[in-house]
């Protein structure tokens, strides 16, 4: 549905301004929870976001995604209830000193955001044998995640904020949205306008966890971290190569 024709596409580098715009979307994109305004998202803007998602790469050109748009208040309330139940369970999994911080974090904008969007992956689309999925059965799920990220970056450019809600029982969401077994729920997104965005991720601002150093995440030619972890306790970080990663999430 996009109306710009790019014609035969050269592979040239974008102009400096264009390149800067792409990086601006990448660096200023935020996961938004509590700040949604009631202002409606225009239909043409929403369609541009969905079209951006639809132009994600997909394994075997499978395009396994569907987009379920939720605006109904009663349905949002039901989904919010499913979130709250799961979030209580989640809270109890953290250690005492982390629980208070966890409880203070707002982790969704289900009721505030004018648009909720569930993005799904139909595992059966295109038949049983899909080019490129033959040896990695997760590839269609990953294609759908690429669609989420396309949408998220397009949304940033449109001045629209997005938050990804992942704390719910899969069975609850399936029931509420009537999603059949052959379809996987990939993302539940809250979408709307906000007044401003944080300049760093909210979990970093709130002291939950720090940005890692990129240089420490890059290896040459082969894996250079620890070969094994010996327990499922928070690991202190691979010896020698990576510095200790602060285990702040539990």
């Amino acid at each position: 549905m996009h109306d710009v024709s790019y014609g035969p596409v050269t592979a040239d580098c974008f102009s400096d301004d264009e390149r800067a715009a792409v990086y601006k979307a990448i660096y200023t994109r935020r996961d938004v929870r509590d700040q949604f305004l009631p202002r409606a998202v225009p239909e043409d803007v929403l369609m541009r976001l969905l079209d951006a998602a639809h132009h994600a790469p997909s394994v075997g050109f499978m395009q396994p995604w569907n987009f379920i748009i939720i605006r109904d208040e009663a349905r949002k309330v039901e989904i919010h209830r499913a979130f709250s139940r799961a979030n209580e369970e989640a809270k109890s999994l953290f250690s005492d000193e982390r629980q208070a911080l966890y409880a203070s974090l707002k982790l969704e904008g289900i009721l505030k955001a004018p648009i909720n969007l569930c993005i799904t992956c139909d595992r059966t689309r295109g038949g049983k044998v899909v080019l490129g999925r033959t040896h990695n059965p997760q590839m269609d799920l990953y294609s759908t995640v690429c669609a989420v990220q396309n949408l998220w970056l397009a949304a940033r450019a449109e001045g629209i904020a997005v938050g990804w809600v992942s704390i719910y029982h899969d069975q609850d969401m399936r029931r509420i949205l009537g999603i059949p077994g052959h379809v996987e729920i990939i993302a539940y997104l809250c979408i709307g306008y906000v007044d401003e965005l944080y300049d760093t991720p909210e979990l970093e601002r709130r002291g939950w966890r720090n940005r890692l150093q990129l240089e420490e995440l890059i290896f040459e030619e082969a894996w250079q971290g620890t070969a094994e972890i010996s327990s499922d306790l928070p690991r202190p970080g691979p010896a020698g190569v990576l510095p200790a990663i602060p285990s702040t999430s539990d």
Copy 2:
């Protein structure tokens, strides 16, 4: 490492030109296989791509990714061998009339691309309990896919082409790159310059599969396709709502 400061970030819509640049990256991005040029990718460009990936959203700000850069010819040859073996198996899975077309498709640029990049997900980073992953254990994998898509779009803006190779046995890649069990391989990418990009996906050009209509993929309030599939044969498409989706992939 990015040197642009965005300061406190308003959530405003980008300028028309900036917005167009983001959509240009999204719509002109291609999965490239055979067209890589030997021209080297400058180190600063590669680092910008990795930094773009590192600024993807991640569950609980976990940043579970690592980046393994492969340039060594002997290692590429070994990986190409693993691909070839899997690709022979894959070909045999398609019906007779599809096999010839499948065999004619070039599905990777492992040896031609100057840079190969393996992007992984360390499932143990940040400990056992990760905020946002408590009810969906796949969330860290999905975060890593978001990093892939960030890199891919940044690469388009930099005039760099990317191809995602998914046809190999996981165990082969683990052995060749020394990847331990607690780390998941998410993507194996071929990266380099090309002279031009196709204006539509190669699988569409080659008649493998068609672009679906976006409008048919959008539902309001709840799933509106079939409730169940009765067999694992290629499905004809949900009755009534979605039109039949051409089952061209097997």
